[in-house]
Assembly symmetry: C2
DNA sequence: TATCTTAGCTTAGGAAGTAAGATACTAGGA
DNA sequence: TCCTAGTATCTTACTTCCTAAGCTAAGATA
């Protein structure tokens, strides 16, 4: 308001706001992709996890996605129904089920991401290499920070610098759940 | 592998990977905050929307969150049960319900975000102002790009540069849902 | 062979969403 | 004033997708 140039604090405030917005928009974008494929975002995440170079079993998928085996059965059923993957028996261990992504699916998904990746390339073309390197450095450290802070919050569910919540005035007294209760989305 | 210095393409590839990771970590972080408050991420988002300078009604909350009025009733019930907000009658229009965030809640939430914001300040302190300005510029444009691309995907559910999906080999033939079917999270 | 472990599926139950309708209130004429 | 239309929230029925626990088939071990 006074100098015309943003102060360092203004910059940092704006940056954290924009980063939050970017995150929200990213979620929305993936939701849109999933809608186009006729699946939900959890399924899309699993499809992505299954699209790596080496074959993945249902159990492995449960492990990396953080879902239970029952949930993964549902995910695979939906992906199979949508024609995106196939269940294949593992010849070495007949208990296992290999999730084979249909060969044309990577191209399909690439097609959906196509406009996006074009736009991102265009965005990047506006910057010098050393500038991109700087952004990469920042984003990379920010991701590490976010991860560390999430872990911190998860690991010590006890007092957090004395920020006491007051008692509820009336009615149902059970604020102590704070555990996996319902329907989380994929987290890995 | 050859020059030792990353190429421009390598940079861009790494950047898009790290941005994706950042987005995932952000979601996880907010999940952790919500867990600590004993609510779900949708509720946290609504609490945030209700925490602005001016009072918000249930209907307004439904509008900005993209949820139905029925869903908002559930959100408010949970937030009220957790002792985070109160329903207050609007003196001017007795149909309306004002969602009043309890006065101590902003501090409580600040407490939870405290370590995070400290770490982010520390991260920012490693950079010059012009560097922060550059990152802000990039992130800001990236968010706009993401938004535009999500809209694009939502708006023309027809052909997308001829990336045809093949017919399913057998079983239930109904790949044409691609609409709001189930249980989205807050999107605004 | 008998038993333990592992992998995936099935089932029961719960959380949280939508859509549609009920309820209560406001507002605008006749 | 009374009737009617519109608005704001809540309620109900139903759907989706998750967890937890149990089941079955297959591999591993003694």
């Amino acid at each position: 308001m006074s100098t015309g140039l943003p102060s360092r604090d203004d910059l940092i405030g704006a940056l954290s706001w924009k980063m939050r917005r970017l995150s929200g928009e990213t979620v929305l974008f993936h939701q849109a992709i999933a809608d186009r494929l006729g699946i939900n975002p959890t399924d899309l995440k699993c499809l992505d996890l299954a699209s790596g170079p080496e074959p993945v079993t249902a159990g492995r998928l449960a492990e990396v996605s953080g879902l239970t085996s029952g949930a993964i059965t549902g995910v695979i059923n939906r992906l199979e129904k949508a024609g995106l993957v196939e269940r294949q028996p593992d010849p070495d261990d007949r208990r296992k089920v290999i999730i084979a992504v249909r060969p044309d699916v990577p191209m399909t998904v690439m097609g959906l991401f196509g406009s996006m990746s074009h736009s991102m390339l265009e965005l990047c073309s506006r910057y010098e290499e050393h500038e991109l390197a700087l952004v990469l450095d920042f984003v990379s450290r920010a991701a590490d920070t976010m991860h560390a802070e999430a872990i911190k919050l998860q690991e010590k569910p006890e007092k957090q610098e004395k920020t006491e919540r007051p008692e509820k005035t009336e009615g149902a007294e059970k604020p102590e759940k704070a555990e996996k209760t319902g329907k989380p989305t994929v987290d890995a």
